[in-house]
Amino acid sequence: MSANAQPVTPVTLDTKAPPALLRADGVSIQFGGLKALTDFHLSIQQGDLLGLIGPNGAGKSTAFNVLTGVYQPSQGQVLVRDTKVNGRKPHQINLLGVARTFQNIRLFRALTALDNVKVACRAQTALHQSRLGLGAKLVNAGHNYADWWKALLLTPSFQREERRLTAQAEHLLEVMGLSHRRDEEARNLPYGEQRRLEIARALGSQPRVLLLDEPAAGMNTREKADLMVLIRKLRDDFKLGVLVIEHDMKLVMGICEQITVLDHGETIARGAPAEVRSDRKVIEAYLGDSYLESHGGAA
């Protein structure tokens, strides 16, 4: 794969490492005249726990959307393990091992907690249908229809598959501490549990990279602390690379090893929490004077 790597300026980080699980190379995106994201670089390796911060409207969620294929970049490229994924659909990118949660929780509200996770688990058994020739596409389509027949005929292999999915989803619910909500409809869960369920669902798609969009929003301090522990644990147990968008400085500074700061779509700083915290530009542009005061001039 590396043979057909594009002649782009490599991301300045750690070039010796194996190909990044997810990489953005000079990604820009415009809506009409508005530049929502300019020359964005990012690279996530297994075991990373990165943070993406910035004031409201800085382009954090836009970055997520570009990385997961919801938006197409105007310039630059997104690579998953050195495969260019520009122009691919979100579900195809997901199948390559990138899963996400949403800022405004987007669960399948009328489905039970278990079914929410099973939807994601299931998808991984589907074939990758990214860049296939016509013949392969036909075979693929045939396979898809045949799969429906298996479900309709309730074949033993289908039943086994269903049991496997259930077991897998139950395991994830357990990991996220949601076993007691197994048969509850998602919309009836309390807020914090909905957030956790979204993570469980993302894990269901067996990702290598997990993108969390403000996972702690609306949680109280204790829940946040628990969440910090949980995110680290997930990274280690599931051998993930994690990228977190977060408003809560404490959370980000507490768990992330490296932080990228966006403002008006531009990357204004990148580095370890301590560096970012002391970066004058960041403090001015993002944190503001009041923050400096309240934290007694953290720098």
Binding site: S61, N65, V70, F102
Partner: protein, 306 residues
């Protein structure tokens, strides 16, 4: 050449009337995201109101300006009231419910009206079509050559009325407080309510406006084609709906353009190709437009915020 011109005139005449009906669809869709399937039938009711008025005022008064004004006034006001009642009792209780629910009540009302008016009991008119009284005496307004191209006075009059109504509507939507409220409700009626906009009143007024407009359009239609029947709403309504979608449903000038385009397409299919395929071509055209521009000619598909 003369024939081409004649087809053009006919197509535009048909298109203007589609446009007025399509505007009703588009306005209601704009504020409520409801495809008001009963719209065509409300129009039909309005036409019968005008029909009854024309007979009530007698043959002499009919031709006078006041007579015409009375017919239009009664039909449009009556129909506006009718639209208000339908909104109040059939749609408003369902406003916070799933969107499809209101659609089903719209279908129910459509059935009740179009079948109800086929009864010949009491004041109901019965199934057979009736000749619409000539409230505008047809005379040639313009003749080119040996009657190669003929433009009739009612074509001109209805074109003027239609254009007047459209301009008025455009002003109403973009130039008045009510229009601003309407657009706010259209954007998000819950938020609009929080901002102190009397949502219920705005929606009710929109319904009245669209129903009144439908009655006006229906009358023009009846004058043009000289007949009324209980099923007329079904056909006109469907075509106008298609026109509204071609233009981008919810978009006011879009509805007008969509309707004119549809009127011309139909006219030319019949005039120069096979008349049997008119409806198929109309719908095929619609599908083609949507495939190229998924939101209609003017509408934009709002990118969903993720």
């Amino acid at each position: 050449m003369a024939q081409l011109l004649q087809h053009l005139i006919n197509g535009l005449a048909a298109g203007t009337i589609y446009a007025l009906v399509a505007l009703g669809y588009t306005m209601v869709y704009g504020v409520l995201k409801l495809i008001n399937f009963a719209h065509g039938d409300v129009m039909m009711v309005g036409v019968y109101m005008g029909y009854a008025t024309a007979f009530a005022i007698g043959r002499e008064a009919r031709g006078s300006f006041l007579g015409i004004a009375a017919v239009f006034a009664v039909a449009m006001l009556g129909c506006a009231l009718f639209g208000f009642l339908i909104e109040r009792f059939a749609y408003r209780p369902l406003r916070e419910k799933p969107r499809l629910t209101a659609l089903i009540t719209a279908i129910g009302i459509s059935f009740a009206l179009s079948y109800g008016f086929q009864l010949d009991i009491g004041f109901l008119p019965g199934a057979s079509p009736r000749a619409f009284p000539e409230i505008i005496e047809p005379t040639e307004w313009l003749i080119i050559g040996d009657r190669d191209v003929v433009v009739w006075n009612w074509q001109v009059i209805s074109f003027l009325i239609a254009v007047g109504l459209m301009v008025g509507l455009q002003y109403l939507v973009f130039g008045t407080r009510f229009g601003r409220a309407m657009r706010a409700v259209s954007w998000d009626h819950r938020v609009a309510a929080l901002m102190g906009i009397p949502t219920d009143r705005v929606i009710a007024l929109t319904f009245m406006l669209s129903s009144g407009l439908a009655a006006g359009a229906g009358l023009l239609y009846a004058i043009k084609d000289t007949s009324v029947s209980p099923l007329m709403g079904l056909y006109v309504g469907l075509k106008a709906f298609v026109a509204a979608v071609i233009g981008g449903i919810g978009h006011v000038p879009g509805a007008v353009v969509g309707a004119l385009v549809l009127g011309l397409v139909e006219e030319f299919v019949v005039g120069y190709a096979a008349s049997t395929w008119r409806d198929a071509v109309a719908f095929g055209f619609l599908i083609l437009v949507l495939l190229v521009k998924p939101g209609g000619l003017f509408g934009r598909v709002a990118a969903e915020k993720v």
